[in-house]
């Protein structure tokens, strides 16, 4: 009997150790998150916790994107999945700040995902109606990444109409709305973002600053 138990233990340990702790990336990426409504139904009263798990998946996904060698198609898919996790987190817990900080820090500077970032921030802005930051961030992305002045204007108007808006935001808004000062305002805002974001998420922001520095014309905001 002891022989059976010991050989079982050896087999189990062997099987466990022969598999990587981190699951195969392509599998994790291809499976992606369940749709937001399905997650909300399955989460039941644990919506907050399931939202946290989505954010945790965003961290994992970003870590994979940064560290693993991926093909172009894989990278594109990974960013789309990351965006879906953020959408789900927002849907489940619209008051969770991490969702919006990561949206600004990650999605906003990724090719083709700026509109997703604006959508998430816009939806969050409806719930967190006491804070100026979300519409302001949305306005900045609309201005800097989508080059949509009208949308940027609407979001920034919304931001400065909210309570406790700091003079910095009002000043930046007026700069953004003057075409010749937009470039400078963008740089200032990105510097502000750098101060408020953890170091792990500085790369996309720094890359954007570098790109803006190399494009002195205020109207050159496209990739």
């Amino acid at each position: 009997m002891w022989g059976f138990i010991i050989s079982g233990c050896v087999l189990y340990a062997g099987a466990r150790l022969s598999q990587p702790i981190v699951p195969n990336y392509s599998y994790a990426m291809e499976s992606g998150p369940a749709p937001a409504n399905t997650q909300a139904i399955a989460a039941g009263p644990f919506k907050g916790l399931v939202s946290d798990y989505n954010i945790l998946s965003v961290f994992t996904m970003y870590d994979h994107i940064k560290k693993k060698p991926l093909s172009q198609a894989q990278r594109k898919l990974a960013w789309q999945q990351l965006s879906s996790y953020l959408h789900n987190a927002q849907h489940l817990d619209p008051w969770f700040n991490d969702t919006y900080r990561l949206t600004v820090g990650l999605l906003a500077f990724q090719k083709g995902l700026a509109l997703d970032a604006v959508q998430i921030l816009n939806m969050g802005s409806d719930y967190i109606d006491w804070d100026w930051k979300l519409p302001f961030y949305a306005g900045f992305i609309a201005y800097d990444r989508l080059n949509d002045q009208k949308m940027a204007y609407e979001f920034m108007q919304e931001a400065i109409s909210r309570p406790n808006v700091p003079p910095l935001a009002i000043g930046l808004t007026s700069h953004f709305l003057q075409k010749e000062k937009g470039h400078e305002a963008s740089m200032m805002f990105l510097e502000y973002l750098l101060q408020t974001m953890p170091k792990a998420y500085h790369d996309p922001i720094k890359q954007r600053i570098e790109r803006l520095k190399s494009q002195p014309d205020s109207n050159m905001r496209r990739q």
Binding site: I41, G44, P45, G48, D52, L56, F96, N97, D98
Partner: protein
Amino acid sequence: MSSIFETMRFTALEIIRMRVFHVLIAGAFLLPIMALIFSNLFLFDIAKVQADVLISGARILASVYILFIAVTLLGKDISQKICHLFLAPPLSRFSYLTGRFLGLLFGLFLLMLVVMLTSEASLLLMFNPDGENGRNALPWYTGLSLAGFTFYQHISLLAAVLLICTWASGLAEMLVFSVAILLISWVVPPIILALQSPDITSQFPTLITTLIETIGMILPRLNGGNIGLALAHGFPLSFSNIAWHLVEHAAYAFVMFGLAQLVFSRRDL
């Protein structure tokens, strides 16, 4: 009255001496540690994540208590005929069932009291008062609120389980029905919420929508109108919302308890 109180006291004594209860109490002590570990994986809203774990943990503990202590105790009492020993005069069936229910409530109260104390202790001790990134965003009474609401919401579920146990015929049947009612009461409110969207409503036949809404009305609303999320973010809850929520659960528990007494008074034991 004295026989109801004595049955309640004895039920509480039985529960306190159960090993499952000790495991649940240990779980209540582990909860803040798990919350701390999990929340440290996050960047900004660390207090919110910790509160999420505490709230979810409290709910899981309360649900496990109902399924594995309340159902087991009542199920063994009825299906293994332990209640025969007690139901000789002078103890009436009404006093017996009332005492059992109150004893089970007391056990749940004790469990939630431990959850409250450990949660409060963790919220007060583990976060730096001058912390940053929303570390100290939760009010001091978050532990009290989450344990209190979890306790209150589960009174109605406990009463529903009491009805199931007085009606079902064996321990397995009682467990299956109780698990089903718990899962359905978790899952149905988000479905009903999703059905409010015109896009989804247009895809569903009216009959199914009505059926789901009817099931939603029959079962207790354990989601509590997103109270969990509000607590996790430290939002103040409106007095009328709290009052109606309390009335909803109290009324539901009364109805279920009354029905359980009716069924039990007529049942062959």
